[in-house]
Amino acid sequence: MLAYEFMRTAFLAAFLAALVCGPVGWFLVLRGQSFASHALSHVGFAGAAAALLLGQPALLGLGLGAVGGGVAIGMAGDRLVGRDVTIGLVLSVAMGIGALCLHFLTHSASSATALLFGDILGIGPSMLVWLGALSVACLLGLAIVARPLLFASLQPEQAEARGVNLRLLDILFLVIVAVATAQCAQITGVLLVFTLMIAPAAASLRMGFAPLQGMGIATLLALLEGWLGLVLAWYTNCPTTFWIAILGGSVFTTATLFCRLRGR
């Protein structure tokens, strides 16, 4: 299986995605923002579809779209306004625009499917370099904001009193999420970013690990999901994305059962 270049690239890509999905997802679940990340991937989809229509690389549109969406959600998301409404609106408008772009993008229906459901086996070496760069950028960003972000997530008023700028932190984090989403969408597609980013993180939080450990465990689980998904896809005739999604569900269910058994 590893004799093929595209498989080696796929394993590496899954590794790069897991590195980012673990810690970013951990914060998303902690902050109750998993829905926001879901929406960002859809905004990214609109951006990518628009980019394809203009003959630009999809990843560029995906990244720009998601980052734009992240900043917009961060700015609009006042504490008073129900965030889920804002996010839901952003999500549906984005999907609408994406649908419009795809409608005119008659010549490449396959790239539309790749956008929605991912195409890990189609990743080339130059794309891999891009994914690596995005991973490094995300991890660096998160390493800088992690401490105040944790404080602000758990104890916002106290953090504010200590001089933490909640709004700025919120926007910075959403930008990191956006970049992570763009990267992850290459592997799972925009519709299933959730499975690699949220499922492992939710499982690790449920098992009650301390923050840094929890992020590490989430990363390992995401890696397990990605690699096992690739292996299973190799030996069966089903797409990788299918297996990753199924494994995501299993990881979370197993963690829940595990905690039940231990009486937590």
Binding site: A143, I144, R147, L150, Q158, A161, G163, G208
Partner: protein
């Protein structure tokens, strides 16, 4: 500016054109233990946030230990009014640790000294045994102890505690008040603590800050908690009733003035 821990002079704060704090002035000497009283919406939380520099008053000045107030002042420990807590699965220790120099950029990594500080804060509120429990499995009162431990990190000289006694049973209220008092005495801290029930603080408070209709009076308990002073503050006749060594504030006429009346004390 000698020994005033908190000095407030002519502070007015408007919310939707309505003064929530209306030309308030008072001075709290360092080392005092102050109970902040007032009904729902009297402005206690707003006052604390203003002292912390989180709300900008439209008029007046605030000095904390002789310095104009500003965000991020390390000498103040703040315990916000309890809201729902996220992250039910995190342990009590992680919860408290998140507040340890949590404003610094970087990773949430705790060295030996940080760990010692966190353990000491937990020990100060008798919460060592809560450290390993998931926060979600703790009772409301136990969570409040963790929040108090967070406020004690970094050895503040002033503590602003917003309703630290809320949702405690009467015995626990007194116990918690005494614990805070003992801590304040031992560390020479100034404490402002808001509460709806003055009785657990009786005998511990040096001063009471009574708030109503955006106004506030500060004074000794026996001076403030009188029928005349509080009637003047409310702008309506209220009566301070003593039952044994407990105090209650009741509206005299009942009816329309009842809403602005607050009952200090938990049933006779």
């Amino acid at each position: 500016m000698s020994s005033a821990a908190v000095q407030v002079s002519g502070v007015t704060l408007l919310r939707q054109q309505r003064p929530v704090l209306d030309n308030i002035s008072f001075t709290i000497p360092a080392g005092s233990f102050v109970g902040v009283l007032g009904g729902n919406g009297a402005g206690k939380t707003t006052l604390f946030r203003t002292l912390l520099g989180l709300e900008k008053p439209s008029a007046g000045q605030i000095w904390i230990e002789g310095q104009p107030t500003q965000k991020g002042r390390m000498s103040i420990g703040y315990m916000p009014q309890v809201r729902g807590m996220v992250a039910a699965q995190l342990s009590g220790w992680s919860m408290v640790a998140a507040a340890q120099q949590g404003w610094k950029w970087g990773l949430p990594f705790y060295n030996e000294k940080a760990r010692t500080d966190i353990d000491a804060a937990l020990a100060a509120v008798d919460a060592q045994d809560l450290a390993s429990c998931p926060v979600g499995s703790l009772s409301g009162g136990e969570r409040q102890r963790l929040m108090l431990a967070q406020a004690l990190l970094d050895n503040p000289r002033i503590l602003l505690l917003d309703e630290p006694l809320a949702s405690l049973d009467p015995a626990r209220m007194r116990e918690t008040a005494e614990r805070i008092y003992a801590l304040a005495q031992a560390r020479g801290m100034t404490v402002l603590m808001s509460t709806h029930d003055i009785n657990p603080l009786m005998g511990l408070m040096d001063h009471v800050l009574y708030m109503a209709h955006g106004k506030a009076v500060l004074g000794r308990v026996e001076d403030v908690m009188t029928t005349q002073t509080l009637s003047a503050l409310y702008g309506a006749p209220v009566e301070v009733v003593r039952a044994g060594n407990r105090l209650f504030v009741v509206a005299e006429g009942g009816g329309a003035s009842l809403q602005s009346c607050m009952c200090v004390g938990h049933g006779a």
